[in-house]
Structure formats: structure tokens, C-alpha cells
Amino acid sequence: MERLVIEPRPDWRAHVEHDLGFVFHTIDGKPYWDETACYRFEAEQIDEIEEATRELEQLALDLVDRVVQQGPEAYGRLRIPEAAWPAIEGSWRGQEKNLYGRFDLRYDGEAPPKLLEYNADTPTALFEAAVVQWDWLQAVKPEADQFNSIHERLIEAWKNFDILRERVYFSAVKDHAEDNGTIEYLRDTATQAGIDSARIAVEEIGWDGKQFLDLENRRIGVLFKLYPWEWLLGEAFGPHLLKGVVRVVEPPWKMILSNKAALALLWELAPGHPNLLPASLEQPNEIEGTVVRKPIYSREGANLQVLEGGRVVTETPGGYGAEGFVYQQYVELPSFGGNYPVVGSWVVASQPAGMGLREDTTPITRDTSRFVPHFFE
């Protein structure tokens, strides 16, 4: 694994905007898509990441099964409200399919990949990984390979969803270019799988007392939401989502995994697993060395504390943390010339599908991080 500084394609902005419809390559005036560098991997390293991803997904599914069987005590530790339990169990026992997820891994090319967190419910950076870096590779290094069959697998996954006769509504918050770009890409893959689809902002979803409706008052039967389950359930229409009148993707059982308390439960399920870091909800003192405290519900590196012997040495701002925290052993991200990459390893329909790297100039990845393409030989 090495980081190469390279010459960007001179016309890349116009090209990705016009030909790919990639409009959020620059966010708040700062580069997000960054092709002034790329990462090169060995095939064996890709094998290792792929295998770790396969194992982590299996562990995650085992954890869902265990939580559903344990019931109230486990839900309580995950801070999942009681109103959601029947929907979680119903969707798990009914084998409702899931589409995708992204494991964020610490990887330096030598030590085993370590799970930092699992974005199981609302992962983004998908279009960049699936299409934009593939397109970059075809233009810049077509003879090389890339760990990335995300696009093909998404289309295949939609075909296997048992929703072919229903229109799928893709929903995200209004006026957010990145989220809306992500759902438009997912809608593209669903369309190629033969699924009828439409868009609606989460703010525009209607409720008539019996069912959810689009802006023309047509029933919403299937809702793909790029909006966290725990947010939905806390809002005015939240209780209606649990009445069984709408099929939701990701399914309710993903609530068990989208929550950082799951990191501690995974460690309990497989203590010492080479791809897991020690983590605990109640006993941070039992974790060796430096510890990072993460809010159970949070996004984009908000409200983190790095603790040494109980003393806060680094802290990030944010408004999260009301539901409590999980403690995880802190491992610094590897530095490649002052850049700290995180490997985002994708599963589609619970199968390893590819990866995308985001790097930042600090060891904590924030929403200012840059997406950098990769290849392997």
C-alpha cells in the first residue's frame, strides 16, 4: 500500500459533471474528489480487506440474530426504543433484504484491517467509489485493477429484492447535494434493474392517517431512505413507520447495526477477533491504552473524545451524545505524508463489493475529508 502523487486529468471537472453527473466534487469551496493522489495496493492486500469485510458482515448478521433472541436487555443496551422492537424482529424474521453498508477500516498495508465503525443504515461516498473512481481508472490506468464491482452488484441486488412490482421512492433531505447525488445514483441502479422509481424529499412525505403519500397523493409502498432510522423514529411521523404500511430500505433490523453501541456488542460476540478493536459500553477501564469515546448516535466524526488514562487529549465538536457513549481502543490512523486514509469497504446484499478511500490531514476523519481513488496490481 502506497500513496502516489499524480497529475490530475486537465479537464476532469467538466468531464465528471457532464458525463457522470457528479456535482459534489467540491464541497463548500474545498476539494472533495481529489485526483492529485491515489493509493496503490498489492493484490494480497485487497484479498485481506475483502476477507475481513466478509467476516465482519457475518459477525454483524450474527449479532442481529443474537440481539433479536436476547430481546429487551440487548435492545436497552443499544438504546433502541421499545416501539421499534416489533418492527426490528418482524423484518429480521421475515428476512427483509438489505441493500448495502460500509465498514470503515483502519488499514496500513501490514497489520490486519481493524473495524473503526460500521455505517449500516445511511452510508454515503457510494457513487464516488462505484463510478467516479472506476471512470478515473479507465482513463488513467486502464490496465490496472480496482476492488470495485459495486455498480454491478447494486443492480443485481435490486433484481433480487422482492419489490419489482412496486414503485420505490428514494428519499433524502432537501437541498443536500451529496445525499441527493447518492440517492439519484441508487435510483439509477434500481432503474437498470427494472424497478419503477421516484424521488421525494423526506420533508415532503405525506401522511393521511392510514398511509404515506407522495406529493401527488399516491401511496408510498416502498421507501428507500437516506435518513437515519433513529432520526425518523424521533420525528412526528415516526410512529407511523412502525405500523407495517410501508416497506423501508434499509430494513428496521439495521437499527441494531447502525448504532455505535454495536461495536461493544460485536467485541462481546467475538472477543479478540483480529479485525475488531476492544470496545465496551460500561467498562472503559478494561480497555488497554488510549481510548476513544464515541456517541452511540453521531455522524461524521462529531463529539469524539480521545482519552489517555481518563484524561481528554483530543476532542471534536458537535451536538451528539444524549443517548450515551461507547468506548473503543484508539489506534492512530496510518500517515502517508501527513495524510490519514480510512478504507471504506462496501458490502452490497451482504457481500464484499469494493472500497473507497477517504483521507484527511488529521487523524480523525471528518466531513471535510477527501475521496482519493485507488488501484491494485
Binding site: 471512470d135 401522511w207 425518523l232
Partner: protein, 175 residues
């Protein structure tokens, strides 16, 4: 090879296509509108009218659109046409006033009864399967064969019940 063999985009980029939307059929126009049981009794047996009144009142509770603010409700149904209600949990909401009901015989002999709300400019507004229909006007001749027309100015539903958390955090939702 572990990269995608080919990638085609059908919505994004220069190859985007547009999808056409299609509408849904409104109710079959086979019903009459009454403001109370007396009016109804002139056309149907009194007992059936009483039953229809009760059914319509019950249906109004579930089919009436609910609004968190009075202004939202009045924007849809007109000033003075909304009332406040309490939820079991102690909260409150606004819904349009029930002004009467629609009754008639369906094909196959079943009776049809539905609540009617007062809409803007004295229009009579009927909810059905999440859609709202203009079914005539309140006035001197209340009873009569209605013309079913989808109500353009009235939406059947409350909206804005999702999205507040993202707004509070001023962020997107993906991670």
C-alpha cells in the same frame, strides 16, 4: 478482475432519461351529500341515515388530515374551518370541521358513506384513500348529485413530519 466490467448510467450524467408519471382514477360519481340525518331521511330510510352518520363521524377521525399548526390547516381548508383536537398522549393538532356526509349505493348493493369537510369558499371536500375531492358547495340547496372533481387547492395529507432532526443539526444524513 475485480473492477466492474462496464458502467452505464441511465439517469445521471449526459445519458439521463425522464420517467413519465401516471394518475389514479377518482371515485365513481354515485352518491349524494347531506348535512344531517333529517335531510338524508328524505331520500333514504332513517335507520340507514343514522348508521351512515355514525360511520362518517368515525371515518372522519382517521381520514381527516392532521396539522400541527392552525395556520397550516386554514391554508388548506380556509379560515375558520379548522378545529383543535387532543391526542391520547396529551398533544394537540388541527383538523378540518366535519360538515356532513356523502351517502349512496355502490354497485353490488353495498352502501357508501364518507365524511365531508368544509373547504375554502364553502366547498364540500371529501377524503377517499388519501385523496381529497371537491364534491360541490354548501349552500341553500345542500343536497344534490355531486360532481366529483379532484380538489386542486386541498391536499389530503399532513406533511413535514420528517426532516426536523437534520434541520436541527443543519446537516445531511449520510455518513
Amino acid at each position: 478482475m475485480r473492477k466492474s466490467r462496464s458502467i452505464r448510467l441511465v439517469l445521471l450524467g449526459s445519458a439521463g432519461i425522464a420517467l413519465a408519471a401516471c394518475g389514479e382514477d377518482p371515485l365513481p360519481p354515485d352518491a349524494k351529500f347531506f348535512t344531517d340525518t333529517n335531510e338524508c331521511s328524505a331520500a333514504f330510510p332513517t335507520e340507514a341515515c343514522q348508521q351512515a352518520t355514525a360511520e362518517a363521524q368515525k371515518a372522519a377521525e382517521t381520514e381527516a388530515p392532521r396539522f400541527s399548526r392552525k395556520e397550516q390547516c386554514e391554508a388548506e381548508f380556509g379560515v375558520g374551518n379548522c378545529e383543535t383536537r387532543q391526542t391520547a398522549g396529551g398533544g394537540s393538532y388541527f383538523m378540518p370541521l366535519l360538515m356532513g356526509y356523502m351517502m349512496g349505493n355502490m354497485m353490488g348493493g353495498n352502501r357508501f358513506a364518507a365524511p365531508v369537510f368544509r373547504g375554502p369558499n364553502n366547498t364540500a371536500v371529501l377524503p377517499n384513500r388519501g385523496q381529497m375531492f371537491n364534491v360541490g358547495r354548501f349552500g341553500a340547496t345542500a343536497a344534490g348529485r355531486p360532481a366529483f372533481q379532484p380538489a386542486s387547492q386541498v391536499t389530503a395529507v399532513s406533511r413535514g413530519g420528517f426532516g426536523s432532526t437534520a434541520q436541527a443539526y443543519r446537516s445531511g444524513s449520510g455518513s
